[in-house]
Assembly symmetry: C2
């Protein structure tokens, strides 16, 4: 909110954020779009987005003036691009699913809404039209926190269809659960035979600092000519705008709430770095090349009755019973360290160890991962670990907890229980790295 | 396990891992302790720990010989130090609680057991006796995955008592839940007036690569002369043995399963770095100095009916009812991104949003954190976030989920519900950093 004085003035003039205005301050005149006051900043300064894209704060003093040039609706219709076929360019499909990258700020509430059509999104980065010929499909337009496995299945089908006549596919997606979707696609797209590039934005496209433009452009290059047959996430690699990383979909995690380089490879390195000019530097020689891509098949089965539980001091292991009672088929536990849970009974009650044993006996698949995120679980180092793995819990090597969850749901959706348990700790889509000496560094 | 041939030979000779042996291999003679075969390695090589500390693998071929020089028990009694008062040295108390730092490998099973007495532990780093005069108390000797809030309370009392006549206190502790205990002590030791230094080891003290020695020595220096009045964790700062970091107890997390530099400051920087020579470089000017320490008071109250839940795609929000039914007083949610959960109902059922609303209405305190770990939650950026915070859920700024859990249990153990909710997002022990521009980098 602006200060009471400014609010009163704006109200009197009928001006709302989003309107294009002319402000005279200190005898200088400025034209631009009135923004809502930034959350941290001077209450007494109007913030205007100038035509050149910069925001400026203007103090309203005696002698200052403000007038409206254009109403909000008119000023915020983004231009759209017309998708015309250009000769000699590779084909890239965009599977648009929603998220901040397809959003703009609602200048009345200051919150971000999902409003931008994919064609508007591309219009923000006109040079992208020289990278590839695009076609856009949009199976859904939702915030990524609302994604479910049904959306993953839809996206998998849309990607497979699109990939049949494109060099690569971009999937625009909200960042919050992008790594869950990336993991799901990694398993559901069996024998993927081209680059499947998920991308998004940490800041909406109408903000000067938006990462959308560069993420779109780098992802387009990766999809248009990347020599990979893998699912990955392509986002800012660092705080500057120097390049993006293309990170394996089963080895990546959102590790910051707001930074543009929030996505990081965990327990592995990025597959490639790619810049806005289309330079691609491959960093992982073990990557699957396009030529290795087989006949792609969508394997969409998914058992949603799988849970991800975190063990922590004083946590009640009877939570496991809650899931047994509901007919859950699998549980992934985020243990501490190398995969620990409490082994000693507390107040005469069964410990986590006892409840895990009961879950396995009831027919559940129980997988153990680490809340450390980095590194590998190991059932052999400590006595307590041996006790836990002795229950039949599967130690999931260096797999991320979220990836283990998605993998277990997918395994149980397509395989019998015993087979699913056997496959859980075996590498299928790059989610498990062979042991290396480096782990023990 | 060794190969069947070696096992047979050892059995015939009555030799077990842990025995001191002489092996003749390739006409050379080696003396040392027979180790169990390392998990990854040649089955046909005996592994001997030489007197100089190195391990060597020796192939047993025709002409090789092995004989026992000393039985296991005799060879593995560690020396103990005698704690004698030296003039002019500061007093440091060690509160020993268990963990790998107080453990050695069981050479029969190959697993790590808790066997080392604190005086044996110090004997591994004899130079530590020139740093301070030590006294040792040991309220418990347990693996840290078995710690509960009752242990936290005991440790808090032991630390407070010890600090009354020492410059500082070291707490030796298992690494798995060390950061949970560090958070608990940060809240329970109100007005802490000296350095409280938690330390541990990622490798047991009888391994050549153990980090115990350096961690003990650096922690002793920090406790003996650190000009801080804070609870922190002091562990290896990097993969080499150059120095340790002393990290604020409410801003630190175990972020690798096995690396010696597994503990990292999150959303803040270490308070100081300290080396084995006792050089201390302070890195955080905002730290509380010894002179600022007030009258210390133990505030041990803790409400254990608090839960930490992670939201993820397809997760069932009815888990919240499980905790309501059990009379829980508070829940910390690890949302995605800036603090999201699903807002859209799935299959006609109440969404996470609806269940959070119900929990708050039932009298629970609900706190929102981020599974990104790094960065800050923010209820104002997206429409869905506004809906969630509209339920009365408390957005916990840049507090780590585990710290928020411990803080909420502590608040509810010492305050009424409303006050606890009010204090949750206010800084008490360095767990919340004021907003900075850097967050938005």
């Amino acid at each position: 909110m602006y200060s009471r004085e400014i609010e009163a003035l704006l109200q009197k003039k009928g001006i709302v954020p989003g309107d294009t205005v002319r402000v005279v301050s200190n005898r200088k005149s400025f034209e631009g779009v009135l923004l809502p006051r930034p959350e941290f900043g001077d209450q007494d300064a109007l913030v205007i987005k100038l035509k050149n894209g910069y925001n400026i704060g203007l103090e309203l003093k005696r002698g200052s003036k403000i007038e409206r040039l254009q109403r909000e609706k008119e000023s915020f219709a983004f231009p759209r691009v017309k998708l015309e076929k250009k000769e000699g360019l590779p084909d890239v499909a965009i599977v648009s699913t929603g998220g901040t990258i397809e959003s703009k700020v609602d200048y009345v509430t200051g919150a971000v809404h999902m409003l931008v059509e994919p064609e508007e999104m591309l219009a923000q980065v006109p040079e992208i039209l020289d990278v590839a010929n695009f076609k856009v499909v949009s199976p859904m337009r939702i915030a990524s926190e609302d994604m479910t496995y049904k959306n993953w299945q839809e996206i998998a089908r849309a990607v497979a269809k699109a990939l049949s006549d494109s060099h690569g596919v971009m999937v625009t997606h909200g960042t919050d659960t992008m790594h869950y979707t990336a993991a799901a696609l990694s398993f559901m797209l069996e024998g993927v035979n081209g680059p499947v590039v998920l991308t998004g934005a940490q800041r909406s496209v109408d903000r000067g600092s938006s990462d959308a433009f560069m993420n779109l452009l780098c992802s387009a290059h990766m999809a248009a000519k990347g020599n990979v047959a893998e699912v990955g996430i392509c986002m800012h690699a660092n705080a500057s705008d120097s390049y993006c990383n293309f990170m394996r979909g089963t080895k990546v995690r959102k590790l910051h709430t707001t930074r543009r380089d929030a996505f990081r490879s965990v327990n592995g390195r990025p597959i490639a770095r790619v810049d806005t000019h289309g330079n691609i530097e491959y960093m992982d020689e073990s990557r699957k090349r396009r030529s290795e891509g087989g006949r792609m098949r969508v394997v969409p089965g998914y058992e949603p009755r799988v849970a991800l539980l975190k063990f922590y001091p004083n946590s009640d292991p009877e939570i496991i019973d809650f899931y047994i009672d509901r007919g859950y088929k699998g549980i992934i536990i985020e243990g501490t360290g190398m995969g620990h849970v409490a082994v000693a009974p507390t107040d005469g009650k069964l410990s986590w160890l006892g409840h895990i044993k009961r879950a396995v006996e009831s027919g559940m698949v129980v997988g153990m991962t680490s809340q450390c995120l980095n590194g590998r679980v190991n059932a052999n180092v400590y006595r307590n670990l041996r006790l836990i793995s002795g229950t039949g819990a599967v130690y999931c090597e260096d797999m991320l907890p979220e990836v283990a969850l998605v993998k277990l749901g997918w395994l149980l959706g397509n395989h019998k229980r015993t087979e699913a348990a056997n496959l859980l700790a075996k590498n299928i889509a790059g989610e498990i790295t062979e042991r290396t000496e480096i782990d023990w560094d």
